[in-house]
Structure formats: structure tokens, C-alpha cells
Symmetry: C2
DNA sequence: TACAAATATACAAACGTTTGTATTAATTGC
DNA sequence: GCAATTAATACAAACGTTTGTATATTTGTA
């Protein structure tokens, strides 16, 4: 017998496949003693459930799909890694797609998920997604939706996000406490709630400190090293002595600009980045950064999904506190 | 009609499901004109193939499984990222598991793959896997096996590896040409072909240059920053003035040790790492490193798989040349 | 002892596709 | 124009599981 089925087990034992099925799925409709016998026999025969048949019959798979812009971004790969560990442990299979930051690929990915009848979708949307309509359109009602990091609060389901306002607030406060007087920000794309929040925290900190909010030193769309560099040059020109950057790569660009301007980091210029990318701790001077806790985010997202499919909890938003990692680049001005 | 099936299409058109199926799968047994009509109707009705039914009937899924020690390692996430792009484009779904560097989880992952009836498995084995027996045992004959980076040459199937001998040879030659006189190596775990190859290239370079091979400055098992640091301390003690490191993290540890010893990098001490981790280009002095081209590796692995399932090519080993990235840490001794 | 209730198992249909074989329609050769 | 061939489509079974309903068995109660 190449690969035994429940029918084979049933025949072997002189019983019916339905009983075998119920025994193996843990239905209460079968006597404990027969269940034990069946399980023993199944193991003896080297039985393995045919997932496809099972999925077909039930109409869904014990699978969750994860969609991210790019798997090879440190943040995302960390989220995926910890989510996979939790989901795998719970017997779920993880399928992965990348949106490559485009709406087109994101929709394609959603279709793939639907085609594979996943029980849930964990998604951090592409930069091209301006709202969640395409998500609603492509995910059936009964599929659990878990958004993380980049989320649309208008969508139903579970959301796992950083407390970005609080994080950027603390980062900015830290710069203020270290004596910096004119603090700008490389803000990222403000159309995303994520970045909008980080700006909010920055503004809040300045307001509390009684400092001016100057739109001229709030640089939108500065995410890359290159764009960060250019914006930072302008910031220096406009008299800034510190920058809170909504990303580590733009912060790296800020380093470049500040060095080029002949200023010292820290001291003459303070910088705090966001994401705590690995390299931040290896540079010199080492860069202060706001850690997003992607590991925690992935685990929490996975756990929330599991609770949801088991019907234990309903839709909710989980906030993962950010962690301000203070290193050299933001220390006290002499 | 909630979700149309091929039977619905058939009824609607007054034909039989088998014709619809053949039309949609591109069988030559259906007239072109009817095929076109069927496709039109299918689109009109919003038909989507039920993957599970299809998989069940055919006995396999258009899915490939990727197993890596950890998704969140830069190297692996890059491989996965480019492999997913290629496979997704070809209509394959990617499922992912982590072995967490343990044999136990790797076997579990293999079982998951088998349960999901994947068409192929791409794997880079865990450090605990000393041979490929568990792979053979858990993967059916008809599943295409693609090993990458960490491979067992004894296993059948496709293998995608770096030309590690050549890479480390060039790295070592580069150190020699820059005037370093006593070059050691932080060699990694030599039980893995991967690391054994890197040692070979190192030895070859020294031999060609007529330099002594000194086992006392070949440090096995130095992969982490911490272990690299300790080994590097010994290397300095034993008179080395350069190290070729089989990993970037051990190279980072070497930096620590050299700095602690009060020597200058480069000049008094030369270092070349392996992997070209992102941080190597951001340190100061910037670290020279051997790039593994994970993007190319993932893409080549995926392409080889696609060729194999289409029956175009047979088992083979693909070598991805490494790229020596010369930065500051290995430059000329004054 | 008999009968209702509960428990355990059997029966059979269904999930939607694919595919070997049978049938019908169209084409070819002579 | 008719048989022989080929092309196109129809029929029906199968993939292995799950699950509603029906039947058989056991238990409890009057």
C-alpha cells in the first residue's frame, strides 16, 4: 500500500471511513476505546491525512497567507519569522507573497490567497495602496484579516501597530532634553497612518516643550538614504541642529549630509532614526533609533489570528510599544 | 451564484464540464473556437479554479516549499525574496518553514511540505543536519528537490551553491597582494561543505603564494561575533596580521579584537569577511567582504526548478560566482 | 420486560476538478 | 458517396475526506 487512506484503515479494521475520520479529527461522536484503536492503527499503517481532500471537503485550508511589500526587508522578515514560528507551532502552514510595493502585485497576492482558501491573511500593505477597498473585494468575509504596521483603520479585522505617536514623541523629547534647539523631521509619506502618527508625536513633543512648529523643517517623503540626504542638507541650511527621522535609511542620509556640512554628530547635530536596523548599532557614531519590535509584532499578530479563528476574541487593535534605543548619535550637546 | 464552478459554466453553455476543464487547462482536445467561448464565459461569470479540488484530483499542488534555518537572516530573506518573485510570476505559490537550525524542526517542515503535496522543495539545511537521509525519507521521489547554499552533494536533484573555493581564494589572494604576511582564517563549521570549501580556497591561495599553512591560525567554529572575537584574539597573539573570515559576524568580532589590541585596520591588520551583510558597507572603516549574491541564487534556484518540472533539464549543480567587494578593511599595508 | 433516550457506528452524498473511455461529428481518401 | 479515419465532445468514475442522516447498540427507567 503506497499511501494509506482512511478507507484503508477502515477496511483493515472492519469499520467505516466516517468513524475513522471522526476519530482522527477528535469528534466526540466516537467511543474513546475505538478512537485509541484507530489512532494506533493509523500510526501503524503510517497514515497521513490528505490535506487537499480535507481542504476541498471543508472549503478552507489550515493555512495563513502573509503579504508584505518585500520579504527581504529586515523589518518584514522579522515579522514573518516570528509569525511563522507561532503559526507553525499551531499547525498552520504559511504561504508568502510580495507586493513589491505595487497595488497590482498586492491584488495578485490577494487572489493567490483566495485561490488557496487561506483561513487568514496577514498583510502590511504596499505604498501604492491608498485605501483598503481592494482588500475587501478580494478577501471573503469568512477569512480572518490581520493587518500589521501599515494598516487601514477603516478595515475590519485585527490590527497590530506600533504606538508611533508615543514613540516619536519620546524620541523628540529625548532630543530636546539633550539640548537641541531646532529639531526638524524627515517624515516619510504622510498619506500612511504610520508616518502621520510619527509626525504627530514629533509635533506633540515640540508643542509641549513650547517650541515652534516649523513646516519648513518637516520633510515629507524622505525615506531613502538619498532623499534623506537631500532633505537633511536643506534642514541644515535652515538652521536645524537635530533631526528625528521616521526611518533609519533617511537618518543615514542625514549622517551623510551633516558630515558633508562639516558638523559633528552628536554635539553639533543630533540624529535619531526609526526601525533600529541592524547597522545602526554598528556605525560610528552608533545611531540612536526607535525599535519597532517586529518580532513581537509578528508573534502578537499570529496569536491574535489564532484567538480569532478559535472564536475567542473579536476584532481589535493591538499596540506594540516602541523602544527608544539611545546610542551615540543623539547624546547631549556640549 | 456565489462562486461558479466549471459545472456551472458547462450548464450555462449547454456543454459538459470535462470540455470546460480541458478548455481552461489548455488541452489540445478542444476546438479553438469553443475554447475561446468558454474562456469568455468563464471571465464573464467570474470563474476561478478551485485549487483544492484541482490539487486533489491531480495529486500535487502548484506550490513549492522553501525551508531555511531562519527567514530573518539577510541572506535567506534575500534568497526567498527573489525566488518568490520568479515562482510567483510562473504561477506557483510559495510556502515557507523555518528549521530554526534544528533537525527536529527541519523534519517537521519536510512533513508539512509533503502534506501540502508541493511540487518542489527548496532547502538550505539546518546546522544540525549532518547528512541528507531525513530529506530523502520525507520527500517523495516525484518532488523536485532543490538545495541551495548549504547542500549535501550526495543527494539527488538541483544544487545551487557559491563557488566558495574560488571566492575565498580570491579574498585571500587579495590580502596577500596587499602585503599581509601571516594570514589566518575564521573558518566556520568545517563539517559543512560550504565552510570546508572556503577553507580550501584559503589554503590554495597560501600554497600558491608559497606561504605556510599553519593549523594554529585556522579557527574552526568561529561564526558569531563573540566566537570570532575570541578566535581573533588568539590569532593576534600568534602573530597574524590579517584574517579571512568565512562570515561577516565573525569578521566583526575580529574588528573588536584588533581594536582592543590597539592595532589599526587596515594597515596593521587586514580583514575580509563573507556575505556582504548590509552593515559591512556602513562601518568605518568599511569592511571588505565576499558577496554571495543571494538574489541571484534564489532566482537561479527557482528557474532551475521550473525547468526541471517542465522536464527540460535534469539534475545539475549551479555555481554562483562570489563577488569580492573591496572596501577599506583589507587595503594595502603601508 | 419493555420502551424511551442516549450513545456509537454505518451509509451515502458531496466538495470541484481531472481524465480514460465512449460516443458523436467532421474530415479525408478512394 | 461511403467507409475509414480523425477531431471534438460527452459520459462517468475517481481523488480522499467530511458530515447529515439513518441505523444499530447500549443504557437507564418505569
Amino acid at each position: 500500500m503506497i499511501k494509506p487512506t482512511i478507507t484503508d484503515i477502515a477496511n483493515e479494521m472492519g469499520i467505516t471511513p466516517s468513524t475513522v475520520s471522526r476519530a482522527l479529527t477528535g469528534s466526540p461522536r466516537v467511543k474513546e476505546s475505538t478512537r485509541e484503536a484507530i489512532i494506533r492503527k493509523a500510526e501503524e499503517m503510517g497514515y497521513e491525512r490528505n490535506v487537499m481532500a480535507s481542504n476541498l471537503r471543508r472549503g478552507f485550508a489550515k493555512t495563513v497567507g502573509i503579504i508584505v511589500p518585500r520579504i527581504n526587508r529586515q523589518f518584514f522578515s522579522n515579522v514573518i519569522s516570528s509569525a511563522e514560528s507561532v503559526l507553525g507551532e499551531a499547525g498552520y502552514t504559511v504561504i508568502i507573497c510580495q507586493s513589491h510595493e505595487t497595488l497590482e502585485d498586492e491584488v495578485k497576492a490577494l487572489k493567490t490567497m483566495r485561490a488557496n482558501q487561506v483561513a487568514g491573511v496577514m498583510i502590511s500593505h504596499s505604498i501604492q495602496s491608498v485605501n483598503g477597498d481592494h482588500i475587501l473585494e478580494n478577501i471573503p468575509e469568512d477569512v480572518e484579516l490581520v493587518q500589521f504596521d501599515r494598516v487601514f483603520s477603516s478595515l475590519p479585522g485585527i490590527k497590530v501597530v506600533n504606538d508611533g505617536v508615543k514613540g516619536s514623541y519620546e524620541a523628540t523629547i529625548s532630543l530636546i532634553e539633550n539640548g537641541y534647539k531646532k529639531i526638524g523631521t524627515l517624515a516619510g509619506y504622510l498619506g500612511a497612518e504610520l508616518f502621520a502618527d510619527r509626525k504627530k508625536g514629533y509635533v506633540k513633543a515640540l508643542e509641549e516643550a513650547g517650541m515652534d512648529i516649523d513646516e519648513d523643517i518637516i520633510f515629507e517623503d524622505s525615506i531613502l538614504r538619498e532623499t534623506g540626504y537631500r532633505s537633511a542638507l536643506k534642514a541644515i541650511e535652515r538652521g536645524c541642529d537635530a533631526l528625528y527621522c521616521a526611518g533609519d535609511f533617511s537618518a543615514l542620509g542625514a549622517f551623510d549630509a551633516v558630515r558633508e556640512a562639516g558638523l559633528e554628530v552628536p554635539g553639533q547635530f543630533g540624529i535619531i532614526g526609526t526601525a533600529n536596523e541592524h547597522f545602526t548599532g554598528l556605525m560610528s557614531p552608533r545611531m540612536s533609533s526607535l525599535e519597532q519590535r517586529p518580532d513581537k509584532m509578528g508573534a502578537e499578530a499570529a496569536l491574535a489570528f489564532l484567538e480569532a479563528v478559535e472564536g475567542k476574541k473579536e476584532d481589535r487593535t493591538i499596540e506594540i510599544p516602541m523602544e527608544l534605543i539611545i546610542r551615540q548619535s543623539s547624546s547631549r550637546k556640549q
